[in-house]
């Protein structure tokens, strides 16, 4: 299986504190992996490292074929990160936000429209300023941005938080569709019951290192390199 994420002894620092203290992890294309662990374990930092936002202090880190030690910027346009922040402009409408971020990622306006429709944000809601949305609607808008960007690697940090039951079901459907289309999903979640149906593989993290991997790939994976 082609490895989309390949980490060996990867260390990331938050100031002087090692938020990741030597992570070994391989994630194959089309996989869905759930990161579990206590608060402060390093899950968010791991997602940010894979997104090319957190620098790799030492070790190996290759994501989507891009060596993050040499250049962590090149991978960014190929990943979609949904963290605790929604990355939306409050005064702009839902449609403005989704269209702007979609066009920034070289997606078409029609991709933005389709994403909004998929998330139930078309019609009246499309013209509502984000500042006036509920937390759940705001989360849906952030998901619409993610869908419109069509990333190869989805990095989700507690993605179900703030969503109602319909929203959660919708998100699960999006994740299944994305992986079926060849995208890879890594998500940090405390809701194991919720995500068990989505991800047969659960990676436990504690103290900035992988402590358990319930379904690690049996064979070493081939690491793809970007041209």
């Amino acid at each position: 299986m082609e490895s989309v994420v390949h980490l060996r002894a990867a260390v990331a620092l938050l100031g002087r504190f090692p938020a990741l203290a030597g992570v070994d992890l391989d994630v194959g294309r089309g996989e869905t992996v759930v990161l579990q662990g206590p608060n402060g374990a390093g899950k968010t930092t791991l997602l940010r490292l894979c997104a090319g936002l957190a620098p790799v202090a030492s070790g190996e880190a290759v994501v989507l074929g891009h060596d993050l030690v040499a250049d962590r910027k090149a991978v960014r346009r190929h990943v979609g990160l949904l963290g605790h922040q929604t990355h939306l402009y409050d005064e702009l409408t839902v449609a403005d936000n989704v269209t702007f971020w979609a066009r920034a990622a070289r997606a078409e306006a029609s991709d933005a429209q389709a994403a909004m429709a998929r998330l139930g944000l078309d019609g009246r809601l499309a013209d509502v300023a984000v500042a006036r949305l509920s937390a759940g609607q705001r989360r849906r808008t952030a998901l619409a941005v993610l869908v419109a960007r069509r990333p190869e690697l989805w990095l989700l940090d507690e993605p179900h938080a703030g969503l109602d039951q319909d929203g959660r079901d919708l998100l699960d459907g999006l994740i299944r569709d994305a992986t079926a289309a060849g995208a890879t999903v890594m998500m940090a979640s405390h809701e194991l019951d919720r995500v068990q149906g989505l991800a047969p593989r659960v990676v436990h993290i504690a103290g900035g290192a992988v402590t358990d991997d319930t379904a690690a790939p049996a064979a070493p994976t081939e690491v793809a390199h970007a041209p």
Partner: protein
């Protein structure tokens, strides 16, 4: 790069159109400053008239600080700076787009303030061409330097107070040059107004090139 610049400028101007911060807050503030100068200097009308050009550009500079602070605070909110890094947008395009949007807002303010000084300070405008060229060149310089220092300060908690400290010394040449050019335009003399205007254009060009090159690393580190 230019496509990204247009995209970012369009987004910032749409944001301004929807929030009306420039029209409802920055413009009234600038007019208020002009009025306060008039109150302070009114006992000697001659000083007010002689100082019109300088007071005009000091007011523009204050208004620019507000506009720039606003332009970069929206990127600091809700993790949008991370989103910009992840977006795939060319950093140079982001710089040009943000500077262009700030420049459009400032030019509109400058027109309003020009009407203000004509009404409040009895300023006579003789050289419209020189005024217009000075406004464009000085605004380009302010927008370029402001966008450069704006992103530098944006990632810091003290950005609201740091930006004026960083920007005002750097913008001093704009204040001097634009004031000299405006003095000629107001008096109708054929002095060195156009020379100052050319100097402003060179200043703007240098900082625009510098911004195109430096904005990426600054966005990364801020």
């Amino acid at each position: 790069m230019l496509r990204d610049a247009a995209l970012v400028a369009g987004k910032d101007l749409r944001l301004e159109w929807r929030s009306r911060v420039a029209t409802n807050q920055v413009a009234p503030f600038a007019i208020l400053v002009l009025i306060l100068f008039a109150f302070a200097l009114d006992p000697d009308r001659g000083i007010l008239e002689r100082a019109t050009a300088g007071l005009y550009w000091v007011t523009v500079l204050f208004a620019a600080l507000l506009a720039l602070s606003r332009a970069f605070s929206i990127e600091a909110a809700d993790g949008n700076r991370d989103a910009l890094r992840l977006s795939g947008l060319d950093p140079a395009g982001i710089f040009l787009g943000k500077a262009a949007a700030v420049a459009v807002v400032l030019l509109a303010l400058e027109v309003l303030l020009l009407v203000g000084v004509i009404v409040l300070y009895n300023a006579d405008v003789h050289g419209i061409g020189l005024l217009a060229a000075t406004c464009v060149a000085a605004t380009a310089g302010l927008a370029a330097t402001g966008s450069l220092y704006g992103v530098l300060a944006a990632g810091l908690r003290v950005r609201e107070t740091l930006l004026p400290l960083l920007l005002l010394p750097v913008a001093a040449p704009v204040l001097i040059g634009a004031t000299r050019a405006f003095e000629d335009a107001f008096s109708g003399t054929t002095g060195e107004g156009w020379s100052w205007c050319v100097l402003l254009a060179i200043f703007a060009l240098i900082y625009t090139v510098f911004g195109v090159l430096a904005f990426g690393p600054l966005l990364e580190e801020s």
